[in-house]
């Protein structure tokens, strides 16, 4: 999936989102303007064919012993799932995925928030800072991999040599190959990559806070921390909530970053679920088992999203 996100201009929001059933949707489509249907139909067909059908198909494959090199398969029902829940490598990948996602998002949010708060206040050079600070966002995953491997290379890399030259380390470190440091190194790289997205979106939200509220708070004798927690945070928490959900999904599902930085290694120290699924499906040719892994991945995400949206809805009700 895409590594960058671009936002669109403001749109009115539905104050009372209501649940709608699939049959209800079809009935509405049948009643709707035929020309209107013609406009949206090609995209609907594409989305159903490229997203809905493959997901259902994956669920089906997860119940089979489909092999990458064979055309036919047999239905094995829940055997794949039974094998997985007793597989230590699966649980290790699951744990790594959670640590990698939680650490990355926490770091990206914290740094992005700090940068946005600073950028919101400075007047001089703010345009220049902004342009420089979004550069990591534009990096294709393959170049993130190449660039950081080169900078962190234990023989010719800039950073290990710099640390040694400064006397911080006695010999060149190898951050991406050393089991003790690899997780922190990839975490740092993902924070570098993802913080700009948080920064830009939080900054946009900060700009929408009416300035009078701060003046009123100042009159009432509120200190800086009170202003931040009662005014600033309250205004931007919905944006932060939505960003966190979107980026958790993205990082959790992301395959390329770690694959291109470490290949999931050393050993399986940075093997997340997508990399584990890739190795199972394309390394071991067990497509059925790989599907089972990805289906569990999706189920986990759906559960998390459910909880996250409950929190967002609660905030929305509280605000209105």
């Amino acid at each position: 999936m895409s590594s960058i996100t671009v936002n669109r201009p403001p749109a009115p929001t539905d104050p009372s989102p209501r649940r709608r059933t699939v049959t209800g949707l079809w009935r509405r489509l049948a009643r709707a303007d035929k020309v209107g249907v013609a406009f949206v139909l090609p995209s609907m067909v594409a989305v159903i064919g490229l997203l809905i059908y493959p997901v259902l198909s994956s669920v089906y494959y997860s119940l089979t012993d489909q092999n990458l090199l064979r055309r036919d398969h047999e239905i094995v029902w829940l055997d794949n799932f039974r094998t997985l829940i007793t597989n230590a490598d699966f649980w290790s990948a699951f744990g790594t995925s959670i640590r990698w996602t939680a650490g990355s998002i926490a770091g990206q949010l914290l740094l992005g928030l700090l940068l946005a708060l600073c950028l919101d206040k400075v007047r001089r050079f703010s345009g220049l800072y902004r342009v420089l600070l979004i550069v990591p966002w534009a990096f294709p995953p393959i170049i993130i991999g190449f660039g950081w491997q080169w900078i962190l290379d234990d023989v010719y890399g800039f950073l290990p040599n710099l640390l040694t030259a400064l006397g911080i380390t006695t010999e060149n470190v190898s951050p991406l190959a050393d089991p003790a440091t690899v997780f922190w190194a990839v975490l740092g790289i993902n924070i570098w990559f993802g913080a700009p997205l948080f920064m830009v979106n939080i900054l946009a939200a900060l700009k929408t806070i009416p300035k009078e509220q701060f003046e009123a708070a100042l009159m009432d004798g509120a200190n800086a921390w009170q202003q931040f927690s009662f005014i600033t945070l309250r205004h931007i928490r919905n944006v932060i909530g939505l960003l966190v959900i979107l980026r958790i999904i993205w990082v959790f599902n992301n395959f390329e970053l770690l694959f291109l930085l470490t290949g999931g290694g050393p050993g399986n120290l940075t093997t997340t679920l997508p990399i584990f699924a890739y190795r199972t499906g394309w390394g071991l040719h067990q497509l059925g088992m790989a599907s089972a892994i990805t289906v569990l991945l999706l189920v986990f995400l759906l559960l998390m999203a459910r909880i996250a949206f409950a929190a967002l809805n609660y905030w929305e009700r509280e605000d209105s």
Binding site: F39, L50, V55, I134, W148, P274
Partner: protein, 279 residues
């Protein structure tokens, strides 16, 4: 006058120092890639901390273009990305206009629908895609990637474009309808020209994402002549001796245009999720 207060000066200085430090760290990889790409191999290995090479060289760029066949891969990437972008924009402009004018309630819930499509892991879609590509004999074709890329470009493009089409005043379309313009004509001649800048931004963004895609290209393309840039670069890391200079030259050729394109649509990156979050 306010900046004369010592506390404010200190706070402002601290903010600038923090922003400068982070900006330097953020831009460093880009700068280092570009510098390394012009540094002779001998200097890359003898002086890892040397900032500016004694004599800049184009040898790495020559290696990349003549020996590694980078231009073929670049052409593949451009063709695949252009085709995906064209299909995406045609389908998404129709859908966005349709949603805004005929299904406004769906439009208001679109952010959440987008997030739902976001949730499907690419690696999950990859399994059925792979089996379908094998069955339809599409392995090693541009078509396989063009189709797969629509899975992430289309939902996002529709979401962005709905935002732009919502800014078209209904009255303009209504007065055109009174003058006897048909619905397709209103779409093509009235609404779409108004949102042309938004469509351009969406197209650039779609193009960048297709150009940068890695997973599907890794899975569906194995022949070097058909490989897009990202996978072709990945495949040279399997070589016995890593030629860092050439890798950095290739990296610079990919990342510098990406950064420039990205900055060109910077204006549209601002704003944003603010309204989608229900505020």
């Amino acid at each position: 006058m306010r900046s004369l207060i010592p506390g404010r000066v200190a706070a402002s200085t601290a903010r600038h120092l923090f922003l400068i430090a982070v900006a330097v760290a953020f831009v460093f990889p880009l700068v280092w890639i570009v510098i390394s790409s012009f540094t002779p191999s001998a200097e890359l290995t003898s002086d890892p901390l040397g900032v500016l090479p004694d004599s800049a060289t184009l040898e790495h760029y020559r290696t990349v273009i003549t020996e590694l066949g980078f231009l073929t891969n670049l052409r593949n990437s451009v063709l695949i990305s252009l085709a995906s972008t064209a299909i995406t924009i045609v389908l998404a402009t129709l859908a966005a206009h349709g949603v805004v004018r005929f299904f406004p309630r769906v439009g208001r819930r679109l952010t959440r629908i987008l997030i739902a499509t976001y949730m499907f892991p690419p690696i999950l879609l990859a399994v059925p895609y792979a089996t379908i590509m094998i069955k339809l004999n599409l392995v090693n074709t541009y078509t396989s990637l063009i189709l797969a890329y629509l899975s992430f470009t289309l939902p996002y493009a529709i979401w962005m474009l709905v935002g732009f089409y919502q800014t078209v005043p209904l009255e303009i379309e209504e007065s055109a309808a009174v003058d006897g313009a048909g619905k397709l004509r209103i779409f093509a001649r009235i609404s779409t020209p108004i949102v042309a800048p938004g469509i351009a931004a969406t197209a650039v963004y779609t193009f960048i994402n297709c150009f940068n895609e890695f997973l599907y290209a890794l899975l569906f393309i194995s022949s070097t002549e058909k490989m897009p840039v990202a996978v072709a670069l990945y495949s040279i890391t399997g070589a016995e001796v890593l030629d860092w200079g050439a890798m950095m030259a290739a990296s610079a050729l990919v990342v510098v245009p990406s950064v420039l394109f990205f900055m060109s649509i910077q204006k549209y990156i601002a704003g944003g999720l603010t309204e989608g979050a229900g505020k």
